[in-house]
Symmetry: D2
Subunit: 133 residues, 4 copies
């Protein structure tokens, strides 16, 4: 039942993640099989890529409050990421959740989990709905 979005934007193609906006619970998920190109100097997941996963999942979750395509653009106003554990090779998934807000500005949480159950990072952020042309 999930609707997987692949290779839709330049950044998505570059990083190689898959976005799922059809879980049915209003939460978008962003998953990625970690390869050497996602790792930093010490052989663990690069913090920027971890953040990209969280930002994507949270932004798409925000979009799901507008319609079920998960594609209405939202801008990230601010994002805080806490890095709880190193991201080892394997499959990782970021999941968003709306925690508050109004019509145009939303507060979201995100959690990035390794397939072995380890929580790699947690994020909070503020996103704003963009007017479409």
């Amino acid at each position: 039942m999930s609707q997987l979005i692949r290779d839709e934007t330049g950044a998505q193609r570059l990083l190689g993640y898959v976005l799922d906006v059809a879980r049915g619970d209003g939460r978008a998920a962003c998953s990625l099989d970690l390869g050497p190109q996602h790792l930093n100097r010490t052989g663990i997941l690069h913090g920027g890529i971890a953040t990209a996963m969280l930002d994507n999942a949270m932004g798409a979750t925000a979009s799901l409050t507008v319609d079920e395509t998960g594609r209405h653009p939202f801008s990230t106003i601010t994002l805080t990421v806490n890095f709880l554990a190193p991201g080892r090779p394997g499959r990782i998934e970021a999941l968003g959740q709306v925690t508050g807000g109004g019509r145009s500005t939303l507060f979201l949480d995100g959690v990035l989990t390794h397939q072995d159950g380890t929580v790699i990072a947690r994020a909070t952020g503020v996103f704003r709905k963009t007017r479409q042309g």
Copy 2:
């Protein structure tokens, strides 16, 4: 006199940025010529890639407090990024700065600027020195 580090890690090769740890002022800079692969759905710089640039510049700046190679690994504990303006195509540069801390834990600022002078994003974070094997 700058020492440019290219293609050193998987993530660096993937994203294509260049890291400069030899500006001589204790601040590392991370620069990137934006191409379509760095853009999001609305044609502007992907927030995750903006964050990756800031995280790299800030982490390498932290490393410069240890020695001038800028390679001693530091872990990002937490990072907060404020997105001030959209990142248009062109060249961008992230620059780190130590603002406080002690022997093993450092506070850093980062600023991401477009070649036209626009400040795209500003970050604050906490980094911790990693023991080396």
Copy 3:
């Protein structure tokens, strides 16, 4: 069965909150009956006092990982607070929760709720155990 701590520090006496470190679930709670002295220019809860409540509850929750007195000092390294809804007059409670970390550095969440069920603010932070003399 709760153990309520009142008037123990200068700041606690000033602000007037009550700290409960004996809920039995490892989470400390900090509660306050809002009076005019806690309000800002627009008649709602002052953001700094909201933050003080969250910081107290989170710091005491960190202390509960050391022993059940909830008094071992932890320093706040960084704190991010998202203000979700205005705090109206009434009783408010901040509740902490450990989300990760190691021996000396802990990640915590906090939530500040009004007695009517409204979530006023949510926080994430990094706390570090202080050596005792």
Copy 4:
């Protein structure tokens, strides 16, 4: 030439700080002589009171973009505070600065400094202009 605001709101009377919105450089300052009522369990400045000072100075600085009274209400959307050094007894001052934003949403920095020159804390935040009745 400074215009000092004292005892104007309940929270200001409670905490005892003085707000200066007439420095002439668009930055509001909030100062306080620390007494025992501002200290935490370990005898240093309470993190919540440090945050209150920063929040006030930043919010009033945001107001100075509207008019020179520094009183137009702004809501704090999110605030991140990094605690760089313990706040010892003495006089402290928080100072705000606008770093970006548009008509209704502003990004601000804040810095909290001890009279001996020590930077106690630094903050970044997002504030939004409130409609007035």
